[in-house]
């Protein structure tokens, strides 16, 4: 069951101010319409996790920890390892987040991160099958939103990919039917580096990487995740707003420009 949520009262005041600024292609924090906030990345800070990354985009902070277990494959994909994404919107990240079982927002976030990684084929899941049909490695990606100041989608996708890039897997040798850890670690080889770009929409205007105030005022959001080859691997419209088909296509092109910039700044592409 999904129920209409109330929006912060301040949003109606902000909405007008943002509308006036956007009409002149300006934003409250002085950014250009299609400009990201500052991105900072730190990796490998968690020693008990097989991979980790803390990414901040402006004031939004997302921590991702990767844990790896042995388990059984899904019956319909016996030759593939298992990828599981979970997202926690922690109560310490925002007064609007509550402790308890994942609500629809955290489920939507987790499923978007999952789609971005799975559909980009960034992880070779078949390489995670130790004994096809019986024993596979299970990769848990846990997304922890630590500080919510807008655009947790892009921050979470970036943190997840950075954490995967930083992941070391245990190497196993088969002794009879039992895989045994042979004491060595090997980095998880990524085949792609998906990048998500999210736009806020107010009326005819759309702007990249909305901050918290812009999110409160925005009517809707569009997220696009690109592979390094420029294909789309996940798209999602969020919240109640709606948009024209031509807006959707305009954002598609701006998003790809930005995804390439981010890819370059992460050393994922050389051009």
């Amino acid at each position: 069951m999904s129920v209409t949520r109330d929006r912060p009262v301040i949003s109606r005041v902000l909405h007008q101010e943002l509308m006036d600024l956007l009409a002149r292609d300006k934003r409250m924090d002085g950014r250009a319409l299609h400009e990201f906030r500052k991105i900072e990345v730190e990796t490998g800070m968690l020693k008990k996790a097989e991979g980790s990354a803390l990414v901040s985009v402006g004031g939004t902070k997302v921590l991702v920890g990767i844990k790896v277990d042995l388990g059984s494959p899904f019956p319909d994909t016996p030759n593939q390892g298992v990828l599981t994404v979970n997202a926690e919107l922690l109560p310490l990240a925002s007064p609007t987040f509550e402790a308890g079982p994942p609500d629809e927002r955290s489920i939507a976030l987790a499923r978007y991160v999952d789609r971005s990684i799975r559909e980009s084929k960034a992880i070779d899941l078949e390489a995670l099958a130790l004994q096809p049909g019986k024993i596979v490695q299970v990769l848990y990606i846990d997304v922890y939103v630590l500080d919510y100041n807008g655009n947790m989608t892009d921050t979470a996708v970036l943190a997840a990919v950075k954490a995967l890039e930083n992941t070391n897997l245990k190497k196993y040798t088969l002794e009879g039917d039992t895989p045994t850890f042979n004491g060595e670690l090997a980095p998880l080889a990524l085949k792609d580096y998906p990048v998500s770009t999210t736009f806020g929409i107010i009326g005819e205007k759309f702007f990249l990487d909305p901050d918290l105030e812009e999110e409160h005022a925005a009517e809707g959001f569009m997220s696009y995740t690109y592979t390094q080859g420029g294909n789309l691997c996940a798209v999602m419209k969020n919240e109640q707003g709606y948009l024209t088909p031509s807006q959707i296509l305009d954002m598609l092109d701006v998003g790809w420009e930005k995804a390439q910039e981010i890819g370059r700044s992460m050393n994922w592409r050389k051009d």
Binding site: C233, V235, K237, I248, L252
Partner: protein, 248 residues
């Protein structure tokens, strides 16, 4: 995967169910299928069978979630345990929670909620038989049930999925195209406003395929919208003589 992939497009360019790439499945609409609900619709699109009931506007429980300036919408997208090949647990899954949210978000723009402050409009979408594209079919049916309930709407929303099967962009995916195809992109469109109110995509598409998909899905939604409008007209527009009798 070692298994041979099923052929989704044959030599003549036709799909597993004989459709052309831009052809919709047959659609059947029955309004007012349920007696007790304020509005309802039974909707079939190919093998998809979906029942939607609308209740309200009515009092909100619990009281604290009501809004002073508008009605709230409650949407439940739910798949019956027998709607899929392997029995689905009736407990709501993560997927169903996400879909309830995206369907609610797609319906909010068309409902004139500001006319009914401090009330709730409940929309229950039951997937009785699933065969690809259930979220958008459920949404299409929900718009019909809202209209059937007499709730003032700004327009109708119609949904349709596009995807990629064997390298070809195809409209209105069936189950096998959804599962074995390369991409699935459900879209909902409000023709009277030229607005998209639901858009999701998973799979891999080039940017050109995405552009093509958007225009195919909007075209498909327009055709579904025409069927929605026709169904509502045939139920609610009275023949002239009957109208006269009632006014006498």
């Amino acid at each position: 995967m070692t298994e041979e992939k099923t052929k989704l497009i044959d030599e003549e360019g036709l799909r597993t169910d004989g459709r052309k790439p831009d052809e919709l499945r047959p659609i059947r609409i029955e309004l007012g299928y349920l007696k007790h609900a304020d509005g309802s619709a039974l909707y079939e699109q190919g093998k998809c069978k979906i029942l939607v009931a609308v209740f309200g506007p009515s009092e909100v429980h619990p009281k604290h979630i009501e809004l002073p300036d508008r009605a709230i919408l409650k949407v439940r997208y739910h798949m019956a345990p027998f709607s899929v090949d392997e029995r689905k647990s009736p407990a709501p899954s993560r997927r169903e929670m996400e879909l309830s949210m995206v369907v609610r978000n797609a319906l909010e723009p068309i409902v004139m909620t500001e006319l009914f402050p401090r009330t709730v409009i409940e929309i229950f979408i039951e997937i009785l038989q699933a065969d690809g594209g259930t979220r958008v079919a459920g949404l299409t049916a929900a718009a019909l049930a809202l209209a059937d309930a007499g709730i003032p709407l700004r327009g109708l929303v119609a949904g349709c999925a596009v995807g990629k099967a064997d390298g070809t962009m195809v409209l209105d995916l069936n189950d096998i195209e959804d599962k074995e195809g390369d991409a699935d992109m459900p879209i909902a469109y409000i023709p009277t406003m030229n607005k998209v109110s639901l858009l999701q995509m998973d799979g891999l598409l080039t940017r050109d395929e995405f552009r093509q998909g958007i225009s195919m899905a909007i075209n498909g939604s327009m055709r579904i919208y025409a069927l929605q409008a026709a169904a509502l007209k045939s139920k609610y527009s009275q023949p002239e003589n009957q109208e006269k009798e009632e006014t006498q």
